[in-house]
Symmetry: C2
Subunit: 346 residues, 2 copies
């Protein structure tokens, strides 16, 4: 049961441990023949270097970590792919770590930096309600992605972020619906306590209504229950059902996430309400599924590829000291599909 170590390999090869180490790590100062011999022995013995020991000793780990919160978020995977490509181009390695919703991503980042000697961090998702103090403890550069807007209480010189302007895009979507002629637009939004993208998207909606002289009816604003996973199809379904049963009049529903909008569509169909003839439905995010649903979902697409590319570029610039932290805002794209139409066709 005794684990096989570098010493065992050295002994079996009749060389010193440092030579074995050099063979493993592609060190230049080593005879190609001895290297091959050592690698052969390693192969056949099934030796695997102990990563803990390596990390303990290593000083020059050219690596970064990507922390992802919210496995459900479907557009992270394409972002990751891009980040990984760019990271490898720089000769760095990338550690991917998923963060459960109950975990604190900054705590995990702190641990990871110690453990793996990282040079930088990318945060994807998460709700950005961290104390400046904790963030300050993170001694490596970090970049936030897909965070609606930077909270005012944190020193902007401490970090970078890349995002679409959730307020503006949400307003854009609402204005599109208004432009179609809708006057009673229901919205499905995050739980009451939300201070992140949920709030911003809701504010954008309200601003659009006000600017066009439409009343903001509290009864049309449906917030998710506290403690549930906000942006789920189930929530969208449930809240839409409640809305329908309330008897409140509306000609459009705007789900502040595509998943909510899909739940809403199912609820409408269950009630025998046609989309978009009776009620229009719009989402936000631009997930793949929206294009497969029947009807195809009108939504706001975030330019995830570009965003990912900028994030990683920014991170490496900061690591190399070329640049200060930045706060980039990208424009979303309104995708008009089959789920929205002019009202009053009924």
């Amino acid at each position: 049961m005794a684990e096989i170590t570098i010493k065992d390999i050295a002994r079996r090869c009749g060389v010193g441990v440092s030579t074995v180490s050099r063979a493993i790590n592609n060190h230049p100062d080593i005879n190609q023949e001895t290297k091959k011999m050592i690698m052969d022995v390693i192969q056949e013995s099934g030796y695997i270097p102990n990563n803990s020991a390596r990390n303990l000793k290593r000083v020059d780990t050219k690596s970064i970590a990507v922390l992802i919160k919210g496995i459900t978020n479907p557009f992270f995977s394409s972002m990751i792919k891009i980040i990984e490509e760019e990271t490898q181009k720089k000769g760095y390695s990338m550690e991917l770590r998923h963060v459960e919703s109950y975990e604190d991503e900054v705590d995990i980042a702190l641990e990871l930096v110690k453990e793996k000697r990282l040079r930088g961090i990318v945060f994807l998702g998460g709700y950005f309600s961290h104390s400046e103090e904790k963030l300050g403890m993170l001694k490596v550069p970090f970049v936030f992605g897909t965070v609606g807007a930077a909270p005012e209480n944190i020193n902007k010189a401490l970090y970078s972020n890349v995002a679409v302007d959730d307020f503006k895009e949400s307003k854009k979507m609402t204005e599109y619906l208004i432009g179609l002629g809708h006057k009673e637009i229901a919205i499905l939004t995050a739980e009451p306590g939300d201070i992140s993208i949920g709030k911003l998207r809701l504010e954008g909606y309200k601003a659009a209504l006000k600017e066009h002289g439409l009343p903001v009816k509290e009864n049309l604003i449906r917030k998710m229950e506290e403690g549930t996973e906000s942006y789920s199809m189930e929530n969208g379904y449930q809240k839409t059902k409640e809305l329908i049963e309330s008897g409140e009049s509306f000609s459009a529903i705007y789900g502040t996430a595509d998943s909510l909008a899909i739940g809403a569509m199912r609820a409408l169909l269950d009630a025998g309400i046609r989309i978009p003839e009776d009620v229009s439905v719009a989402g936000y995010d631009g997930i793949e599924l929206g294009d497969y649903y029947a009807p195809r979902l009108t939504t706001i697409r975030q330019p995830v590829d570009e965003m990912a590319r900028e994030m990683i570029k920014l991170l490496f610039h900061i690591i190399s000291g070329k640049e200060e932290h930045k706060h980039l805002v990208f424009a979303g794209e309104l995708l008009t599909k089959e789920s929205t139409a002019e009202p009053g066709k009924k």
Copy 2:
């Protein structure tokens, strides 16, 4: 920039390092007051123990790892939740690790065991085409989940697995469609080289046809392209489109994954084909989305909760030496929804 270590804490507290260590690890032999004092200093100084060093020293890590292949697979998350609960009940900790599709889960397991001194491993997903040799190098017990059937070439005493019988369930679904009166049933299945669940589900389909005296038409068997992500909506869409354009006659499509079936439905709808009036569609897996799509998807649900519970129970039994490896088979559940009906209503 110098990282703060346990020695610094010891110095600042005026105690020895072992006392600090005892404080951190809830060791019994320590004065509660000194412990509190130390913890306070740790808090304020922001000290974080170096995990690499800890793993290097520790012998008695009561922990297991869960390796997940295929982030896209939506029912893993509920399995993980259950596994985590049970693991904590046993006083163990659980390490969750996602495995990219190009990574080898056994290699990663090998590394992880060395690095973290794990006591057991759960493999979720993955395609189980590993060499017995490599598997033999894994010195801790492991359990495979959701693997259709164990390959014959591997010694069954080496591992456990928990699965539904993909062959049988797939046959069940096909027979259901036949029972409705369908005689020309198209199937969307994995890439040609698949030797895992894809193959089993295809075999189940063929067996059902043969038993009922129906011909197996190669033209109705649509395999995914090599090198793409097999079970994607996009693939389902594309292959169904090709099927329609081929002019081949069929009254039902059976997607061997719900995602494929959803892609198929979109393609049918795009072609102006009604579901289920013109063509019935069935899936496999029982993902949440199937119940939100319009029409709701007929599918085979895997009893993931029970399976997860059994997997972890099994693993701990084997760890404690109470039991030998086992190979459990669970029954799937046929969920008949709105996407299937008798043919010929057109």
